[in-house]
Symmetry: D2
Subunit: 232 residues, 4 copies
């Protein structure tokens, strides 16, 4: 059975993305996974990866890094190569987020290397065309997020549904298999429902969950709406 | 009593800087601290900070991050603001390492903010003059490391002792209090002895400890030689 | 009639790329254009664009910038927006050279904006896959140059002909119209001949022409071999 | 006799900083120089340097680049090393402008290299402390410009005179000879008068001259007020 994806980018909200609240979101995610079976991905800051991994251990919730530096391991003070993530036990990595854009050659290098190391890649893009360009490189997932909507609470699925349909169309022309996600402004279950109905398999969200008073409620609402859209 | 400083930059050596070996270095450092009382600073990768902090808990060994991004917390995917480090409980941060140079305005911003947050700063420089420029900004420690000697095993104290003496001279002209460290090519206790005799208070080392078969032996040798030089 | 392309990246060789020698290459290019009618593109440093434009005036030789910064005009000290190039009268711009890589979103932004301003784009890529990714974005030309061969004098057409054939294959899957160039290690007319026979329309060269004792001879040899390959 | 300095950063305003208007500002500057003898520095975009140099030839007006890349000449597509500027005949270079910040090690490398090549350096800083840090490195001029006032038309000499007096105090502690300039929000002759009275030798201005309807009037007003302040 196909399952919807709810990917949570913790970003670096203070204090929400760190410490006890970072773990609480992880516990809530595990609970929703137990109750719904949705694919939930958590992407905490580098400094919180180890502790979040401890919390989700044994569950189906996956942990991704928010970024990886395009460097080989070695004398690279303050950089995080993919090997550091693999060693830690994370499942994948977000690349090229609009707040952390990468050079094209580096995106390709990181996707290829992550594949070799057994890490999954979720690559972001700002418009349908760059989403298609990225899809040519063979990542596991692509999320097209118009930067002007990120963090606004105005869901791309409502404000610019054509961004989603164009993305699906352009990406499918060059890559039949890559998973497509919707991002930017997603804040409720109904946004997830719309995103899935428009042809994607789930969402990439940040503040709507990370800063929520009850992350559990939001994650669950999104997971259930994702299933509902897939089954209708 | 003045104590010598042995600061260990783990860098991103694979597999040495990560996982079990990262913790082993930390345990060895705690043992040397218990036996000598030297000031030992460990700077593991972001992803290992939480676990290394657990190991040194209750001891006098301090944990620094290798870098901090010059950003406020918030929507900053994949970046690590100082607040993330403070939240974790680290004691300080290395800034402007030759492998991760920062813009001048950002160095100043980070030093000021770290001070406010109660985090110590160890700022690197490539030559005596930039060491003095950095000292003007009021960090806790300055380490002048000629990049061409970093990682060579050729100690700056032997190859270019004038780098150390010039650094001390230029830095003291503009800042009476900042702690001065020696770095680049330091690999044995005798290098630490020489560095302290030339007027600095300790060393910043990487591979000589991180890749050592017995990190304990190297750390201890360095700590003891540091004390010896201070007392002679 | 289809014509071969000889694109000359001056880079920043000293003193070759600057001053009198920069103009001499331009005069030689005009002479070859008069004698053969080949499409010749010259890409001198920003600081030499005005004078090189003066030299080629009235001929069919085109002048490109080596780079453009992904910024709008305005308060941007030391940056060169596309408008600065348009104002000067250049014909196009090289983007994403292996020595000046750009972020994916910026490549797309620059291609779209250049099109609006009537500037042509020659976008570089390091491997066939990134060449295809770039081709999705609709530039005028794509040059796939394996960085490890750039500047070696070992022509990619001999050392790695599969890079060229794979590039042509992958790029044509996503873009029927973009002009494909061969680059890296090209130094003689026979390399141009091979490059065209492998399915591209010309070459991107630097030192072989810029540092040549007689640039005229090399440009002419390349132009003639390009025509020969196209007609055979 | 000591003369005031009026340094004009053209930035990249469109169309003001380019083409005919760029030359008109240069002609106006030459006229003011002829009439007052003030030290006038013009810093047009890289692409306009050659033509502006032609205009000021034979006068005492100096031409600076807005930036130089911290690279040696060679295979550096799209970068401008100091040698490119020297070759062109410019007199100096602005470094570390708030819109184009540099790494500390690179500022030092560029100052040293410019000195060897006979190019003068005007280094910007954001606050008095970084101004002093820069002064340690021995540039010819330092301009402290609070970024929050740049481009506002609110002169730093009125809004934050303590920035100027603190800069002078901190810089003089570490460097007796460096010329100190005032920048940010300077728009009239009276701002220049105030800046000189507060202890600096002139100003760094951009839009107030570059976008002026009659650049001649503004430059002259500033030059005369500079002399007036020096003589009073």
């Amino acid at each position: 059975m196909v399952k919807p994806i709810v990917a949570v980018n913790y970003k670096a909200y203070y204090p929400y993305s760190f410490g006890e609240h970072a773990l609480r979101i992880a516990r809530d995610a595990v609970r929703v996974w137990e109750e719904t079976g949705a694919n939930i991905i958590l992407a905490p800051p580098f400094t919180e990866l180890a502790r979040v991994l401890d919390v989700v251990k044994g569950s189906g919730v996956e942990v991704y890094a928010q970024h990886a530096d395009p460097v080989e391991p070695g004398a690279r003070t303050g950089f995080i190569p993919l090997e550091a993530l693999k060693e830690l036990g994370v499942h994948g990595v977000i690349l090229n987020h609009s707040e952390h854009r990468l050079k094209l050659a580096d995106i390709n290098w990181l996707i290829k290397k992550a594949k070799k190391l057994g890490l999954k890649t979720l690559v972001c893009a700002d418009v349908p065309e760059t989403g298609a360009a990225v899809a040519v490189l063979g990542p596991d997932m692509v999320a097209v997020e118009p930067p002007e909507l990120i963090g606004t609470g105005i869901p791309v699925s409502k404000a610019k549904p054509e961004v989603i349909t164009n993305s699906v169309e352009l990406i499918r022309k060059v890559n039949k298999d890559v998973v497509i996600l919707t991002g930017a402004g997603i804040s409720k279950g109904e946004d997830v429902y719309a995103a899935v109905k428009l042809g994607t398999l789930g969402v990439l969200i940040a503040s709507a969950i990370v800063k929520a008073e009850k992350p559990y409620d939001v994650i669950k609402d999104m997971a259930l709406n994702g299933f509902k859209a897939l089954q209708s």
